[in-house]
Amino acid sequence: MRFRFGAPGELTAPSDERLAVGDPRVVDFLSRFARKLLAPAVARRHPELGSLGYFLRPAELSRAVERMRREDAYVFPRGNVFHVPPANVDTIFVYSWALSALAGNHNVVRVSERSATAADTVLAALNETLADADPVIGRTQRMVTYGRDDAVTGALSAWCDLRVIWGGDAAVSAIRKFPLRPSGRDLTFPDRTSWAALSVPGWRAADPAARKAAVTGFANDAYWFDQAACSSPRTVFLVGADPDGVAGEFLEALAEVVEHRGWLVDASMAVEKRVNAYQLAATGAATALLFPANEITALTLAGVESAPRRWIGAGAFPFASVASLLELVPAMNRQDQTFSHFGFAPEQVRAFAEALGGRGVDRIVPFGQALTFSSIWDGYDLPSEFTRLTTVQT
């Protein structure tokens, strides 16, 4: 076991340390940590850490703390929280941990062995911040890396009041084998699918600058994390009558952005996309395939019901046409997470959300916001998950 952050020692030993919800020592630590992430050198190398730093600015932190307060009850930390973040999205573990720390919990985060350079940068910044922080931080907040050690996972599962499992269905099932204490709970983040919707009249009405901004936002959403994050948009729904030509214009604009950014898709990924695209064609789910370059694969779907829910590669865009957003409602289910949109009137978007009625889709956001983490995530209000309530009548 490697201690990546915090005081080494028995992870599950009882502790006399107490933190409060919105504890000033934690707020101070997180704000100083955020400043390090926002340093130009860091943000340039890892743009995703810039977003994280932004999320942890003092103003954001006090807003989050404010949201934890209630009139009708005392709000206290939930207790011990064990986080199992995904290996490949380097920053998720920080969001999850930071909110939990802000809620005053004692945290243990299992940082994957396969975590990449952004995670190392984060850990370095955390440790630098720790050097002149209140010692309570290091004693209550620990990040460790260990292999598939069932004894450790089992002990932490029995120790925690809340276990946070990221990483999809397989990870959730694997970790669920370890029992929690009777009062313990799981907060799970299983496999998700995310979509994009482009209004046909909205696109046609948009001027070149608005189109370019939309496509740039969409490109960031899609190409960061190889279109494989739970919130990365995959299928694009063309919404509105007479969509001819819109997909072509959109793809052309997308190709320009991708080329301008210098994003490349290597041969392995290109083959992966061919395999998956051919498979969709073979079953009749896709009726036309376009491979203009390795960076962009476009598929015309036979219909909305053919939209794939699994990953088909970085820069792969199935298109399906519908007359209105409401037509998409029956196709949505609980697996669906983020629905990003462009060109719709606010009332159209709200009507869609209301028509969904909770059958699926947790976030409806404009193009460019798909990956922006928020304290309401996957349908959970995380600050409230990370706290417990005590009511008092006198």
Binding site: G167, G168, A174, A286, N294
Partner: protein
């Protein structure tokens, strides 16, 4: 009789005609294949490089066959590295053709008679059901081209020196056949023969299975040939490249070594992994293998995930293209939210 006879121009002319017919045949008889071609907008091919290729991995994910269910005579499977399995459907005619053409290809270097044969593997391989499909099927398939077989490894996988000495005493004076996976030949035949002074000079070695394990030990293909010849007298050795998805077609190393050759009914195209256009000799890219043998499933034009390079055309031991396989394209991995803690308990 050799199946390495056609100069490139004559071969391409002949193959193109047959392959165009095969494209139509599979289009008419394999609906998923027809849907792929129509979705990707294929109309016609004027050259072999223009023929529509399928990624070989598609056979792991889809049932692709051009024969009705009741004509399926044999289903071949390959075990992939990630546990996915290719399924290749043969009818009687296709099964017979692949055996015949594999035989004809090997006879080019083995001669018309069945030779006594050393199998560089262990007999227990055939008992282990898990490893049977890949290695076992390969060994069993090749065994039919020899006689009076001996296994170079005993049941526990250790070299069986006594069996080898006994075999060589009986058959070592005339040509005999040796077959095995390249790294097994190196580890378990070459080393043993060298240490014990076995004379393999009448042997003809046919081997396959990739160089990765040997390159890890710093043994290049050239070094392999040189040391076999110098240390145990084995001068006739032929590496080959082939896959279950194009069963019956093997690309065989020529007598002077260093290059693989295409039999008359097959060819290779090296593609640029960025533009997917055909690359000229000397430029490495992704290997596409082409063969007229697959009639019962659309495996006639396959893009492999192997990197290769054409060294020359009509300028080697045999006519046509000569090429090498350089290694494997790494499998693409998603940088996604999944895969946190797999394999636990």
């Amino acid at each position: 009789m050799s199946v390495f006879t056609l100069p490139q121009a004559a071969k391409e002319q002949l193959l193109l005609k047959e392959l165009v017919t095969l494209v139509d045949h599979h289009r008419a008889n394999c609906a998923p294949y027809a849907r792929i071609l129509s979705a990707s907008g294929f109309v016609a091919a004027q050259s072999i490089a223009e023929l529509p290729w399928l990624p070989v991995r598609l056979f792991k994910n889809l049932e692709l066959k051009s024969i009705p269910d009741d004509e399926v005579f044999k289903v071949l499977t390959s075990s992939g590295t990630t546990g996915e399995v290719s399924r290749i459907y043969l009818d009687k005619a296709a099964a017979a053709t692949q055996t015949r053409q594999l035989g004809a290809t090997l006879q080019t270097v083995l001669g018309p008679k069945r030779l006594p044969m050393i199998l560089v593997d262990t007999k227990s391989l055939l008992k282990d059901r898990r490893s049977f499909s890949a290695r076992g099927a390969g060994v069993l398939g090749m065994a039919t081209f020899g006689r009076d077989h001996v296994w170079a490894l005993d049941e526990s996988g250790a070299p069986d020196l006594a069996a080898l000495q006994d075999f060589l005493a009986k058959h070592g004076g005339d040509p005999f056949l040796i077959f095995g996976f390249t790294y097994l030949v190196w580890l378990h035949l070459y080393e043993v023969a060298k240490e014990n002074g076995l004379d393999l000079s009448n042997g003809i070695l046919i081997h396959s299975g990739g160089w990765k394990k040997l390159v890890d030990q710093a043994v290049s293909p050239e070094e392999f040939r040189r040391r076999l010849a110098a240390d145990v007298g084995l001068t006739k050795s032929h590496n080959f490249y082939g896959m279950v998805e194009q069963i019956g077609t093997i690309f065989l190393e020529g007598p002077s070594g260093g290059s693989l050759y295409c039999p008359d009914f097959a060819d290779v195209v090296v593609r640029d992994p960025l533009t997917w256009a055909e690359l000229p000799p000397g430029q490495p890219g992704l290997l596409e293998v082409v063969s007229t043998l697959p009639t019962s499933y659309p495996g006639h034009v396959l893009l492999t995930e192997d990197l290769g390079v054409v060294h020359g055309v009509d300028d080697g031991d045999w006519p046509g293209k000569r090429f090498s396989v350089l290694g494997r394209l790494p499998r693409a991995e998603a940088r996604g939210c999944s895969d946190t803690y797999q394999g636990a308990a």
